[in-house]
Symmetry: C2
């Protein structure tokens, strides 16, 4: 079940470098893409960066609406992550259905979210035209955060106790992911 988290926990959800899915909506049109190049930027206010190619359909949606979501998929969703990262809605308007993506919304936010992910960050775009044009780099301020209590509870990921299909994913390229592995506590 999804649990709302304090914004102070937002960066922890992506701190370990998982691949994410990026979603946005504008003019009634929804889309989702994958991105390996997303990163925490600040704790308070909670901010994130994500790199979105100029050819990405989703980029246009978040530029129009000023809102997007980062969501952290689980290993069970690896095929979907690769599919929404490989296809473009520019070529296939039925992309989301073809990729098996089911969307939902959280109250108060007109930002589509992908069912089945481990964590969700809804973000307001902080417009930085130079970064966006020169580097395809987008900055978001986190407005709301949820995590699935199967994989995240009491302020921490549960990767040492969940089965493989509930681990998060780290993308390498060419369809190869690594699952988040064993914990290592220092100090």
């Amino acid at each position: 079940m999804l649990q709302a988290l304090e914004l102070s926990q937002a960066t922890r959800l992506i701190n370990h470098g998982p691949v994410v899915m990026v979603s946005a909506k504008a003019g009634g049109v929804e889309n989702v893409m994958s991105a390996a190049w997303a990163c925490a930027l600040d704790y308070a206010p909670a901010r994130v960066t994500v790199v979105l190619d100029k050819g990405a359909f989703t980029r246009g949606l978040l530029e129009q609406s000023g809102w997007f979501a980062l969501q952290v998929p689980l290993a069970a969703q690896a095929e979907t992550v690769l599919a929404v990262g490989s296809q473009s809605r520019k070529n296939n308007p039925a992309k989301l259905g073809d990729c098996g993506v089911k969307l939902f919304y959280q109250a108060g936010f007109d930002v589509p979210l992908v069912q089945g992910c481990g964590a969700y960050l809804i973000c307001r775009l902080l417009p930085e035209p130079h970064n966006q044009q020169t580097y395809d780099l987008f900055i978001g301020e986190v407005a709301a955060v949820w995590a699935d209590d199967r994989v995240y509870a009491d302020g921490r990921w549960l990767f040492d106790s969940v089965p493989d299909e509930l681990k998060t994913l780290h993308y390498v390229g060419n369809g190869l992911f690594y699952r988040t592995g064993k914990g290592l506590k220092v100090g």
Copy 2:
């Protein structure tokens, strides 16, 4: 043994979201810090981002010299990663020795590198004063890349066959890391 790689492979070394160590040198002074918030930014030219707090001693060094390195530590180095990420050279000029860091240099680059890491990216700072001041966000263009052939060979990481201590690390916080886990190939 370290093998020089084509610059086109630079992003692959950090694509899976590992914690990195950031090193720099200016005026004869060397330092190293850890950073979980480093990310690929572009393939060609190969570029990376890294977030460096205004209090970080290493930040001053790379601002002065215009050069820095990102290096990808292995699990065997977890204590060092935490130590150089927790202490500041501002308070302890003997930080590197106290943390057990041994540096080396590659020919042609006056940028210190930490012995024992899995991969190295030497980067030229692309000055972006607005990003640096407002977001503590630094952009580097990759000038040279090496990887240790115990963990990376023939253009790919070897995480499915290396022992635990040679896996890369994903930092969560409070001294907790996750090692890179099992591979998952889709398609």
